[in-house]
Amino acid sequence: MRMNLEIVQETGASDHQVAYVAYNSNALDDQKANIRAVTKAIPKNIWVDHLKRIQTDQDQQAFAELFGYFAPRVKAFLMKSGAAPGMAEDCTQEVMATLWHKAHLFDPSRASVSTWIFTIARNKNIDALRKQRRPEPEELTWGPEAEPEASDILVMQQESEQLSQAMKSLPGQQRELIEKAYFGDLSHGQIAAETGLPLGTIKSRLRLALTKLRQTMK
């Protein structure tokens, strides 16, 4: 077996090397282009560093900036979901406090900051307005050696940004359909199918991430 391998390596070395280098530099260029595209498209919208600063340094300045951007959106979201202004205000403060306390649980390879805040706000809404418990799926935690990779974080953040852009540019009627599903108790249509929102890649990427996670947990 070893002999065979060596022979293959000897005879095919130059070709392989060339191909490998070509592939690698392509990948590198792609990644650089990606990074350029991301930093160009979203100068301020990646809040991942802010969360990291809150988590590691209890950085109040970072929190104040994040609060300034997200708290008014959370309040608007809660009011659209049926909360009176006073209650929405109180709940928003609790949501943002939860964000501080749970900053160490945020995984930027699996969600954007706005997605993560959405889930906290939604759970607060169920708890405070609907007076229900919220059963959550079993927690899957990353092992200490399985830190998410930088490229996974970049791609997840980039695709989330694309989704946000796509959401903003949806025709009014389709946007309304989604708002109804997320803010009202109307029955939910096939959102991805009917609106063409780019969910497919996010879905398959999350699926891959889960497989990877299961493997590291074994």
Partner: protein, 216 residues
């Protein structure tokens, strides 16, 4: 808890979106959360619907907060996090379900509902009912139809009805049109988590009497 055999019956997109949006009744959320604990396919889909929620939150027009909002939030932060409800340790069931039972399968308080079938109603909000069903190997749940939606998630064993076979991790989403008689497979007792948002409709009158007695 990841089921080794392949799950073939998944949650519908409608249910996954409802779970992500937070608009389902608690009993349905419990079935969804338990299935997500067993099924990576649906977990990934649910998380991708969360990202629609995130995009929607991001695209919101803003609503001003009071001038003191940030300092009040800092005061909340100083108080420390609220203690999370402890999850019973060493349960043989997915976490979300153990939290409702307060333990594992051996802690379930079963009540017989006839023909060897047993059930345990779990405490949720009243918009829908959640219960565990214990169907002995080879036994059947009486023939019934539905007014609303019924979700049945298999935890152990397997059952078959007029539509298909459902094994551990599979979930059957039955609408008003389905009239069925689930039968547990020979060899293993079948344990399911079921949720309905309206009472079931039994074909025979004896189960109807049982229904009024046992909150089926």
């Amino acid at each position: 808890m990841n089921i080794m055999n392949k799950i073939t019956h998944h949650l519908s997109d409608q249910l996954l979106i409802g779970y992500s949006a937070g608009t389902l009744p608690e009993a349905f959320n419990l079935v969804v959360a338990t299935h997500l604990s067993m099924c990576d396919e649906c977990r990934a889909a649910a998380q991708s619907y969360d990202s629609i929620g995130g995009a929607l939150l991001h695209a919101q027009p803003t609503e001003d907060l009071s001038a003191a909002a940030l300092s009040k939030t800092m005061a909340l932060i100083a108080k420390g996090p609220k203690a999370a409800a402890p999850v019973p340790a060493g349960s043989d069931l997915p976490d979300p379900l153990s939290a409702y039972i307060g333990g594992g399968l051996s802690d379930v308080k079963w009540r017989p509902i006839g023909l060897g079938v047993r059930q345990a109603v779990l405490k949720t909000s009243h918009a829908a009912t959640a219960r565990l069903l214990y169907i002995p190997a080879g036994a059947a749940v009486p023939d019934h139809g539905h007014r609303g939606t019924e979700l049945t998630l298999v935890l152990k064993g397997a059952f078959s009805d007029e539509t298909a076979r459902f094994a551990a991790g599979d979930v059957e989403v039955a609408g008003e049109d389905l009239h069925h008689k689930p039968v547990a497979e020979i060899g293993h007792d079948c344990i399911c988590l079921a949720a309905t948002d309206a009472p079931l409709r039994f074909s025979a009158w004896i189960p109807r009497v049982a229904q009024s007695l046992f909150r089926l």
